[in-house]
């Protein structure tokens, strides 16, 4: 296949193009706000104020960010291997079993710092196992990963509904949730981190799993760009034929990549379960697995892009709550529209503005033009 576009400098490739795509997504969202009969500028003000206006708001924003870093990384790892894991939602949901089991067993015996590692392992293990099956089916039986992971989201939802109903629900309780965890199952808030900046976390559930998310992001960078396994995964993603020729075991890499992806998605469960609710509730994932798709596309599957993209969506979630409070005709479903538009413009239509941007950038900087010429556009 011929190379359709000239190579752009990194700042345009990783900065300008995503920003333009994002701007278009927001412009169209603004149009929706206009149709509803409200002012987009006012909505934007409430959004930013609601996300960053106070220490407590920032705490909520970062709480959501934590969740989206995990699910974004999950989608990104699979992307690098050429796999589209739509199953983050189900993997995170099943990951909750690992967290709940760890907490229900040890929350009265162990302090949080001993229980946390067990819960991390549990979350990652259950998420990884749930992702392993579609991975294995893709690798060995050739069933399409996208379809299988969609199906597994629904199966996970039914399974969790059953488990919460029959297994986890305490006797005599009506609501579909586990019992509330004791002190061992409650993660400490990061109020010390906020107070460095002179802010108070207030009632926001901003907790230590944020640091775990940052560690995971660093870990993914090391894995993808600094290890043999990551190299094999990227080779596989670029060209399965080349990978096979190089003696990379296709099936093994697919299953491992899916398990890492599922493990990361599963770890998302730590944040709401141990960090906010201190119990596992029905439908605690609330679409975060799907937000991960938008985050990974925005962040171009690089941890350095995923963290700001997750922050952006954290801002949308927290700020969106504030908008719906101030402007009742704009409910939180507005975020779902924005999320969809970001996926559309940063994902499916990512090349729409590329020819124009390329022409402009090349016209403005003669140096880049020379580089492009020698590289054979």
């Amino acid at each position: 296949m011929s190379v359709p576009y000239a190579k752009l400098p990194a700042w345009a490739e990783y900065g300008l193009i995503p920003l333009v795509n994002l701007a278009v997504a927001f412009l169209i969202s603004g149009l929706v706000v206009l149709i509803v009969g409200e002012s987009p500028l006012e909505a934007a003000y409430h959004m930013i104020n609601g996300a960053f206006g106070r220490g407590e708001y920032i705490g909520f924003t970062l709480y959501y960010t934590t969740t989206f870093i995990f699910t974004g990384l999950a989608v990104a790892v699979a992307f690098h291997c050429g796999l589209f894991n739509i199953g983050g939602e189900g993997q995170a949901y099943i990951g909750g079993i690992g967290v709940a089991l760890a907490c229900l067993s040890f929350d009265r015996v162990l302090p949080w710092y001993l229980l946390f590692p067990i819960a991390i392992l549990g979350a990652a293990l259950f998420g990884a196992l749930w992702a392993m099956i579609p991975g294995w089916l893709q690798a060995k039986r050739g069933s399409h990963i996208v379809i299988t992971t969609i199906m597994f989201n629904f199966i996970a939802a039914s399974l969790m509904n059953y488990l919460l109903n029959r297994v986890f629900k305490p006797l005599g309780s009506m609501s579909l949730e586990t019992r509330t965890f004791e002190a061992g199952g409650q993660l400490p808030k990061l109020d010390w981190l906020m107070s460095i900046f002179g802010l108070s976390v207030g009632s926001a559930p901003f907790n230590i799993s944020f640091l775990l998310a940052l560690v995971a992001a660093f870990g993914v960078w090391v894995l993808i760009w600094r290890t043999r396994l990551g190299y094999e995964m990227r080779t596989m993603g670029h060209s399965p034929a080349a990978a096979r020729y190089a003696g990379i075991k296709e099936a093994r890499i697919i299953v491992i990549a899916m398990m890492i992806s599922g493990g990361l998605a599963g770890m998302m469960a730590l944040n709401p379960i141990m960090g906010e609710q201190f119990r596992m509730q029905l439908d605690f994932v609330q679409g975060a697995g799907f937000v991960g798709i938008a985050v990974a596309l925005m962040g171009r599957s690089h941890p350095a892009g995923i963290i700001p993209a997750a922050l952006l969506f954290g801002m949308l979630y927290q700020g969106g709550a504030e908008i719906s409070f101030e402007m009742p005709s704009i409910s939180r479903d507005m975020i779902v529209i924005i999320q969809g538009l970001v996926i559309l413009f940063a994902g499916a239509l990512e090349h729409m503005f590329r020819p124009t941007i390329t022409r402009v950038v090349l016209a403005l900087s003669p140096k880049t033009r020379d580089v492009a010429a020698t590289k054979g556009a």
């Binding site: 296949m1 011929s2 929706v32 149709i35 509803v36 009969g37 589209f84 739509i86 089916l137 039986r141 050739g142 069933s143 399409h144 996208v146 379809i147 299988t148 969609i150 199906m151 597994f152 629904f154 199966i155 039914s158 399974l159 509904n161 059953y162 109903n165 029959r166 799907f290 798709i293 596309l297 005709s329 704009i330 409910s331 479903d333 507005m334 975020i335 779902v336 529209i337 924005i338 999320q339 969809g340 538009l341 996926i343 559309l344 994902g347 499916a348 239509l349 990512e350 090349h351 729409m352």
Partner: protein, 323 residues
């Protein structure tokens, strides 16, 4: 006799539940046979259901409602087509995006226009599809066996239900007995060959996507104008994905789609009717298991444990004319 009565009722609700599945699965059949994967069936159906509910309420005309549904669904299809055919973006990503945009905007617009918690106002009989009573249905009701079969099962459905069942042989005929159908299938298997023959791959795929939009639009209109009296938030409730599962389960063939949709519809109807019922030998089947069964069956089929589902060869791959 009581058993027979139960059977008729179960069969009738199976037909009702299957109708939107059949329409949506046939919609998917057209695009996927042309090589454009579409996981946005859910979103298109939802958007169509909303448009139908809104316009039927405003105009008090069921025809206008249906037209609006088809229009919205075709427009969404064209967005998908533009992203995946013209811009050669990822078809999966585009489908996911459309599902989200529609899920959000139907609620926002519905709330802004009607202020009923994301619903459209309840439709009166004028704004809905009535039920067609086949000739002599009342007269033969008392005839044993055949009477209930005719007047209970065959008669008394929405016109869209009859349309859905007619669309199965019609789709077969279009795909397998017309020039358009032959080319459409060819473009999903080997677009290069179609291009060599001097036929535009792009235009052919756009037409397939439009066919998909029309059928999805009817499916959506069925939900809000026939099965219910108006639109409710998120009313497709995963039906688009079940239809997608049925399409794969049917190995991308019209006749199989009918049976796959009836099977999945039956599972749904059965699960609702026998919730908490203790069966001989197996005991109580959890309702969650029945709900998950279509998905589990599809996974097992896709894995090749019951036959092998082979998708169209060029599916999911944007066509690039070699320069």
């Amino acid at each position: 006799m009581e058993f027979f009565q139960t059977f008729i009722e179960l069969a009738q609700s199976t037909v009702r539940v299957s109708t939107p599945l059949i329409l949506a699965a046939l919609a998917g059949l057209f695009t996927e046979r042309a090589g454009v994967f579409d996981i946005g069936l859910e979103g298109k159906m939802l958007g169509a259901a909303f448009a139908a509910g809104t316009v039927a309420y405003l105009t008090q005309s069921v025809t206008m409602g249906l037209l609006a549904a088809v229009l919205v669904s075709v427009l969404l299809s064209l967005v998908h087509g533009y992203a995946s055919i013209t811009q050669r973006g990822s078809q999966i990503v585009s489908g996911v995006a459309i599902n989200f945009v529609v899920a959000g905007s139907t609620v926002i617009l519905g709330e802004a226009w009607f202020r009923q918690g994301g619903r459209t106002p309840a439709l009166t009989e004028d704004g809905r599809f009535g039920r067609i009573t086949l000739p002599f249905a009342d007269a033969v009701r008392e005839v044993p066996i055949l009477g209930p079969l005719y007047s209970g099962l065959l008669s008394g459905h929405s016109p869209l239900t009859y349309l859905a069942f007619l669309m199965v042989p019609a789709s077969w005929w279009i795909l397998y007995r017309t020039r358009f159908g032959l080319r459409l299938r060819a473009v999903g298997e080997n677009p290069g060959a179609v291009d060599t023959a001097g036929i535009s791959v792009i235009w052919l795929r756009y037409r397939a996507v439009i066919c998909c939009g029309i059928l999805c639009g009817i499916a959506g209109a069925y939900l809000s104008l026939s099965a219910n009296a108006g639109f409710t938030k998120g009313m497709t409730a995963g039906k688009g994905y079940i239809a997608l599962a049925a399409l794969i389960f049917a190995k991308w063939r019209p006749k199989n789609i009918l049976f796959a949709c009836l099977l999945f519809g039956f599972l749904d109807a059965f699960a609702i009717r026998y919730q908490g019922y203790a069966f001989p030998l197996i005991g109580k089947v959890p309702v969650q298991f029945m709900q998950a069964l279509p998905y589990i069956l599809t996974v097992i089929l896709l894995a090749g444990f019951i036959g092998k589902a082979i998708p169209p060869k060029a599916g999911g791959v944007p066509y690039v004319k070699e320069r």
